[in-house]
Structure formats: structure tokens, C-alpha cells
Symmetry: C2
Subunit: 184 residues, 2 copies
DNA sequence: CTCCTTGATGTCAGTGTCTGACATCGACGG
DNA sequence: CCGTCGATGTCAGACACTGACATCAAGGAG
């Protein structure tokens, strides 16, 4: 038998989301999260660089989806490449994940420090996308604008997807919003 | 005679910039900054919400310039409105301020936490601009895209303006970069 | 089987950010 | 001359985060 239960990272993330949802981000201490996961505060910081980061695990997988989507496209027009990236990334948001995503987003929206971190992640995504586009031969300024437009579309789609009463699937919504952008 | 010297806020900001430049952001404590300004740590936090914020004072004035520029324009095309805002905001960066801006930007670039805060400010600016455009009758999605494009132009202009060896004035550079964008 | 190394965790002590509560004391109006 | 107001100080404390070192099961080398 192992000395400790496995899956510490996930237990920490689950405990954190639960506590943040029930009592708020600021009123939850890292020690509480760790205790709820059967660990100590010190161990929390071995898995997550800071208290906010626990809500953003999985972001790397998400970014990877954008990149593989882009890599798998044979298009040459910048916006077509971005569209392929978006389409692939939509797979990150199956319907079963909607409630969870909604809960998470509520927590983030309720706390400026978390909103700041989220914006930073989106900005990093745009930078990554820009680099990938440049790799595909897109001129730098064009690439930056296309990437940022793509991220805008993603953000709006996500907001629509978790809106109360919304039942449309992520990729359907995203196609609509992308079309709206392209109409400009 | 006043019980204390006036201009505490400015003294704190000056002391902070100096210390950050000489020994780095993280290795400077708030207590040091306060002491250098002849005040206590507690007073620092009465002027600035957190340690990072001391580098972003004046951001409000800057945002106000964008808004007055936009308000003073009689254009109706979204990008023309944004251009007017950009043009007015350029006044915030006279040549005398270039060295100071460069020093400040170096500090920010050297620290992830500061970069995160800066991105947040840019994002907030885009949101403000979007709202102003919507007020002027621009459709929401269009407004958001135009605002974000405007902020992109500003960012690139700023980067070019503080690049080593650069001597062009802010508004000249900005006109060039805006033209490049419009060519798309 | 025993020994040794390794990796995940715990323990502990400390630094630094940030906050609330309350004290101080010159300025300024009445 | 007095009262109150505003900027600052003092103090205690919560909490995030870090470095150094201890612990101990697992798993491999001999």
C-alpha cells in the first residue's frame, strides 16, 4: 500500500473549487484547501505556484488543442487557420463540463485577482497563437490581429456557452460568433 | 508649517521606481520604499492598493485622454473614432518622458507579476474604449474588435517608441503603425 | 533478504504583503 | 481658545509563500 493516496494534484484542485464556490476565494485559505485534500499547505505550493493557479490547471492542454488544430489545417488565410484552431479547441468544452465551467467562471468573475490571472492567460494564448501563425508564414502584424480576433471569438463563445439557459453546444455557438466576426 | 511634507504620493512613486530600478521589484520591500520617502509602510498602502500599483499611477489620466479624444471626434466610422482617441493619448508621451518610460517598462518586463498587472490595465482600457464606442452607436462586436485593434496599435507604438535608438515622436510612430493596420 | 536510493510528503521557522483598530497632533474654522 | 478633521504613525495579526531539513514507503541493486 502506498504511503499516500495518489492524485494529490486533482484532490487539491477539487477541494479548492468546492471551497471557493461555497465561501469565496478570499475567505478560503490555502491551509484549508490542503486540509480538505488531506495534505499540508506546503504540499499545495509544490503543485501550484500560487493560490490562484489552482483554478487554471489544464490551461496547457487547452492551449495545446489550439496549436494542434492550427497545425492540422492546410489553409493559408490567417483567419482560416485561426478558425481551425478554434474548432479543435471546442473539444475542450463538452456539454458535461458546462456546469463545472459555469461554477468556475463565477468564482473568477467574483474576484479581481482571479480575473487578472485569467486575462493574463488569454493574452498568453494570443501570443502563442501569433507565434504559430508567424511560423506558418503569416506576417507579424496580421498574425497578431488575427490571433487576438480569434481569442475574442473564443471569449465571447465561452460567455455565451455558460450563459444561463443556454443549451447550444460550444462548437455550434462558436461557429455562429465566428461568422459574425467574418461578416465585418 | 505643515506637520508633514506634502506630495507623499509622488515621493512614494519616485522612491519605488528608483529602488525597483536599482535592486529589482522583488528584492525591494514596501518598508524600504516608505522609508526612502520618509513615511511608513502603512502609509504606502493608504496611497496604493498593493505594491505593484505604485508603478501604474497615472493610468487614469491616460485613460481619460483616450476618452476625451474619442469624445472630441465627429467621425462615425469606428476606426476613425479609435484613431482620434489614439491621437489624443499620444500627448501623454512627450519626448522628455521617453527615458523614464523606458526605465519603467524594463522593470515591468523583468517581473511576471508586473507584466500581468500591465496586461490587465490594457484589457481594462479596451473595455472602456468598447463602452465608449457603443455609446457612440457602434455595434457591440464591432466596437470590441475596433477597441482591441486600437489597443494593439498603442502597444506596438509604445514598444517602438522606447526601443533603443528610437528618436521618432510618439504620435509620428503611432500614425505609421495605425496606417499599417488600416492597410489590412 | 538487506541495503540504498528516490520521491512525495511533512515539519518548522521565517519573510513579506496587506489589513483593521486605535493613537497622535498640526491645521483650520468657529 | 476649542473642537474636529485629516494625514500619519503604531501595533498586532492573518495569510501567502519559501528554504532547509526530516521522514518513510517503494522499488531496485547486490
Amino acid at each position: 500500500m502506498p504511503r499516500w493516496e495518489s492524485g494529490s494534484r486533482e484532490r487539491l484542485a477539487d477541494a479548492a473549487l468546492g471551497l471557493f464556490a461555497s465561501q469565496g476565494f478570499e475567505r478560503t485559505t490555502v491551509a484549508e484547501i490542503a486540509a480538505a485534500a488531506g495534505l499540508t499547505e506546503r504540499t499545495f505550493f509544490r503543485y501550484y505556484a500560487d493560490k490562484r493557479e489552482v483554478l487554471f490547471a489544464g490551461q496547457d492542454d487547452f492551449e495545446a488543442l489550439f496549436l494542434t488544430g492550427l497545425a492540422g489545417s492546410s489553409a493559408t488565410a490567417p483567419m482560416d487557420l485561426v478558425a481551425a484552431a478554434l474548432e479543435n479547441a471546442a473539444g475542450f468544452f463538452p456539454d458535461e463540463k458546462r456546469a463545472w465551467s459555469r461554477a468556475r467562471q463565477e468564482i473568477i468573475a467574483a474576484n479581481p485577482a482571479l480575473a487578472e490571472r485569467e486575462q493574463h492567460k488569454m493574452s498568453a494564448l494570443a501570443t502563442t497563437l501569433t507565434a504559430a501563425l508567424v511560423d506558418r508564414g503569416v506576417e507579424e502584424t496580421t498574425a497578431a490581429l488575427a490571433a487576438e480576433a480569434g481569442v475574442s471569438v473564443f471569449r465571447r463563445t465561452f460567455a455565451a456557452w455558460i450563459a444561463p439557459g443556454q443549451t447550444g453546444s460550444f462548437d455550434t455557438l462558436q461557429r455562429e460568433i465566428l461568422a459574425q466576426l467574418r461578416a465585418l
